[in-house]
Symmetry: C2
Subunit: 188 residues, 2 copies
Amino acid sequence: MEKGPLGRRRGRGARERILGASQQLFRDQGINRTGMDQLCAEAQVSKRTAYQHFPSKDELVAEYLRRFDPDVMPGVFDRTDLTPRERLLAAFDIPASTPLCPYISAAVELHDPQHPASQYARDYKTAIAARLTETAREAGATNPEQLGEQLALLIDGASARTRVLDSDSFPTAAAIAAVLIDNALPAT
Amino acid sequence: MEKGPLGRRRGRGARERILGASQQLFRDQGINRTGMDQLCAEAQVSKRTAYQHFPSKDELVAEYLRRFDPDVMPGVFDRTDLTPRERLLAAFDIPASTPLCPYISAAVELHDPQHPASQYARDYKTAIAARLTETAREAGATNPEQLGEQLALLIDGASARTRVLDSDSFPTAAAIAAVLIDNALPAT
DNA sequence: TCTTATATACACCAGACTGTGTACGTAACG
DNA sequence: CGTTACGTACACAGTCTGGTGTATATAAGA
């Protein structure tokens, strides 16, 4: 078995299997309803091994959230085939695969702003708002910070509402976004 | 002890104390993190009594949500001293007392659309949207249903974002609401 | 080869959880 | 008064939880 560019992955990759199972189970069942026994069974990893990689479940949850960025909004902001305005709207084209932004879920389930994972949740939310702001600036918005923050709020609103009502709310959010963007751009 | 208009309240009102403690603890700590032992201690009720009033914790949670309506947005929609437009905006004047809409919290924590309480959560969300729609119609919006749904989404977005970021997002939502309302009203 | 890190199987712990069984008060109401 | 419904105290069952101890296998790297 070849070793990767980093010194890691010498064993059989138990750590990655654990994180993979975490993504699936934490999203499908929630964090609190997923026990370590079930998680280890799903990952085909002994419980002892899991606790050799992660000192506690809380730390595993934190790492699960830290690893999440690549999956959400994968290339929306990097699509050069779209105008900045189209890129802002593309952020609302979510194929209903996401049951609920896992960061909102985690913040509710953990219920403790001091939890190591809660910090990652805030960081991620801030990062998304920053990218929206950046794109808004490219689009020529008069107040990019405001527009970015507003669009971020729309995304979270659609996520939450989709979860509670069990029906897709992103189209509604996209409609609002279109209005806001048109209002924020001086003239086209 | 006089008996009320209904045949109820013959005893010493354990049921009301239980529901009162539920409101406080479920909101402050979350549902899953609040055990029945703690809840009964807070309500100064024996655990046996609690289970004589509610067949299970799940049913207690359902009743807790069912009883919630009066507390949220108490008289916003009934304030005759405000114009319909002002009433729509007043819905975003939330004094940061609400940590997170308990219905969103419950939907995330329970994590089961079949749960008896999840139905109440959907009902409540629908009711709020309906009242917003109604007020939007009074205000003369061209598409009241759309505006009502949009404003409801803003409230949920502000709730969720306030929770995750630990900072008040309702002003942002109010700003969006003002834009949407102005856009939806033909002319003033 | 031998050493060392990684993973495994499996039993086990202490605590929290929801929910119940039992026997006992006590206030209301006829 | 006595009856009846409500409430109490307390122990306990059964289960799940996160987390650990121990002894053993296996593959990588020297």
